[in-house]
């Protein structure tokens, strides 16, 4: 990315490292560039380093090494300038349960130096935008998880930022709230040209929303590109067979191994198909060999397949591993 473009509202990161005093290297030398107006999805399991990266890029944590420029400003030397350009919704919504939605917006507008004459109008506009106008004067303690997330997004937008950081914005939300938030983010980019840096552990979210995806694991970016190009790298589809009887599983696995590399799966028996093979070839072989399966399904590559190919683990498995390994919160 050239410097002029980065100076508008892009993000540039080079060799970024963040080590915790008594912990691991949470971010281990990442390089990335986000173009102005782009939605960049930062995908990875829990503990991969996504939130730490966001904390560094939003000036909440200094990096141990490397450089990062947000909107053309260095996050270490020009933190205050960076903060004027960015809107941030961190993983924990951090709202005051005793304040109303409107109280929050007015407080945030004042702290972000929005002119006094514009504060009430801006608050009203954002409350309507995120669908909280009817709940504006209710205490946040009575809000649902989805409402809190929407208010958090509104707070991040109060000073019309050019760059928006969203750290796992839909974690814990119901599908309807998740879709509503996706639409809002897409609209922001479309109408206001806002650059969005979005972390997520949901494949679908990255797939639907992001122009480009960076996949992070154990502090390193293991793959980067558009969702389509990343999936195209994998190329071959996977085949999933559901055994009619559980005891047939080993036999079916051995049978399918003739057609591709086995994949880790607890729900079914799966392989990555070898080049040139299709579902019809497998069906014919199943009939010919008299193998009993309840169902056969061919699936196009997903970002989870990309994660598996790059790390040897599924995203879900990595998240469970991270949860098991994770000790007390660190800082």
């Amino acid at each position: 990315m050239n410097a002029r473009v980065a100076a508008q509202n892009g993000i540039e990161v080079e060799g970024l490292v963040r080590e915790y005093r008594k912990g691991p290297r949470a971010v281990d030398g990442i390089d990335l560039a986000v173009a102005p107006g782009e939605i960049y999805g930062f995908l990875g399991p829990n503990g991969a380093g996504k939130s730490t990266t966001v904390h560094v890029l939003t000036t909440l944590l200094p990096p141990t090494a490397g450089t990062a420029r947000v909107g053309g400003f260095d996050v270490v030397k020009e933190g205050a300038k960076v903060r004027t350009l960015i809107g941030v919704a961190l993983q924990e919504a951090a709202l005051d349960p005793l304040l109303t939605g409107r109280d929050h917006l007015r407080l945030q507008a004042t702290l972000q130096n929005v002119p006094k004459t514009d504060r009430a109008t801006r608050a009203e506009e954002l409350l309507h935008r995120v669908g909280l106008a009817d709940a504006a004067d209710r205490k946040v303690a009575g809000y649902s998880g989805g409402m809190k997330r929407r208010l958090d997004l509104a707070l991040a937008l109060v000073h019309s930022p050019k760059i928006l950081f969203l750290d796992e914005p839909t974690t814990g939300l119901d599908p309807q709230s998740r879709t509503a938030l996706w639409e809002e983010v897409a609209l922001l980019r479309r109408e206001a040209g806002v650059t969005v840096f979005l972390t997520t552990q949901y494949l679908e979210e990255a797939d639907v929303l992001a122009d480009r995806v960076g996949i992070i694991d154990q502090g390193r970016i293991v793959a980067e590109g558009t969702p389509a190009s990343l999936k195209a790298e994998i190329g071959r589809p996977s085949l999933h067979a559901i055994p009619r009887r559980e005891e047939d599983r080993p036999q079916i696995a051995a049978f399918l191994a003739r057609f591709g590399d086995p994949l880790e799966s607890t729900r079914d028996v799966a392989i990555r198909l070898r080049d040139g093979l299709g579902l019809t070839d497998i069906v014919r072989a199943v009939d010919a060999d008299g193998v009993e399966v309840a169902d056969l399904e061919l699936r196009a590559p997903t970002l989870d397949d990309v994660f598996l190919a790059k790390t040897g683990r599924t995203l879900e498995g990595a998240t469970e591993e991270a949860a098991a390994e994770q000790g007390p919160a660190r800082r």
């Binding site: 909440l60 407080l107 004042t110 702290l111 707070l155």
Partner: protein
């Protein structure tokens, strides 16, 4: 851009929070008055001791709620700040254009506003039960000003503990420690009439004694320069030290580049 609106917004939040949780707003008003009533009932006869400065124990004891109420507010303010740290609200504030000093001043302004409301309540209770303020209306104004200073000093101490410890539970654990200072003071008897030697010496070394005596002098003596100088002096010293410590801890807590 001026930081005054930011200070105002933070102070307003502090007041609104307290007003919306009666469970934390009412105890600082009621408990000190209730304790004063109990003490006045049980210790009324001590006014017959030779050298006791007044024949109304209520007038003598009315000084205590001002200090005790400020201690309650300190704990509430500290716990609120610690909760902001624990929930990540401080991170939210760190990501705005808010200046560190504006946050501290805003939070302390809220504590002072509540301290003045409490002091007005205690003065009103005193007037209702027939306490005569020897220093008159001007003395009541000085008393309210002093209550504001005490709230500022103790509020800054609460803020320091909150920024330093970052945990509401830790702040609550400090409460009994601060209360020990209140009880080992001249809250229930003039220092010269305390018979137990070690207690009298501890009360003499305890700055809280001088704060109580400052308020008490305005109620039962009138204008006592020595009591006023000592009272204002100690509260100013505690305030300056607490504000410096709170500012330093806040800078460390609001980690931003």
């Amino acid at each position: 851009m001026s930081a005054v609106p930011q200070v105002g917004a933070i102070a307003r939040r502090s007041v609104v929070r307290t007003a919306r949780q009666p469970a934390s707003a009412i105890p600082p008003l009621i408990f000190p008055i209730a304790l004063m009533a109990v003490n006045a009932g049980g210790l009324r006869s001590s006014t017959h001791l030779p050298g006791f400065p007044t024949d109304s124990f209520l007038a003598f004891a009315l000084a205590v709620p001002f200090i005790q109420g400020a201690l309650f507010s300190t704990m509430n303010a500290g716990t609120d700040i610690a909760r902001d740290i624990q929930t990540g609200f401080v991170n939210r504030l760190s990501l705005t254009a808010l200046r560190e000093w504006a946050l501290l001043v805003g939070q302390l302004s809220g504590v002072i506003a509540l301290g003045i409301v409490q002091a007005i309540f205690y003065v009103s209770v005193g007037l209702v039960v027939g306490v005569h303020f020897a220093s008159g209306a001007a003395g009541i104004l000085v008393l309210l000003f002093y209550a504001a200073l005490v709230s500022l000093a103790f509020g800054a101490l609460g803020a320091f503990l909150a920024y330093r410890l970052g945990s509401g539970e830790a702040i609550q654990a400090m409460f009994p420690v601060l209360f020990v200072f209140l009880f080992i003071s001249s809250m229930n008897a003039p220092r010269n009439l305390i018979g137990v030697d070690w207690f009298r010496r501890a009360a003499t070394l305890n700055p809280v004694s001088y704060m109580i005596e400052c308020v008490r002098s305005l109620i039962i003596v009138g204008w006592d320069p020595e009591a006023l100088i000592l009272g204002f002096g100690f509260v100013a010293a505690i305030g300056v030290v607490s504000i410096v410590l709170a500012s330093r801890s806040l800078r460390l807590r609001m980690t931003r580049t």
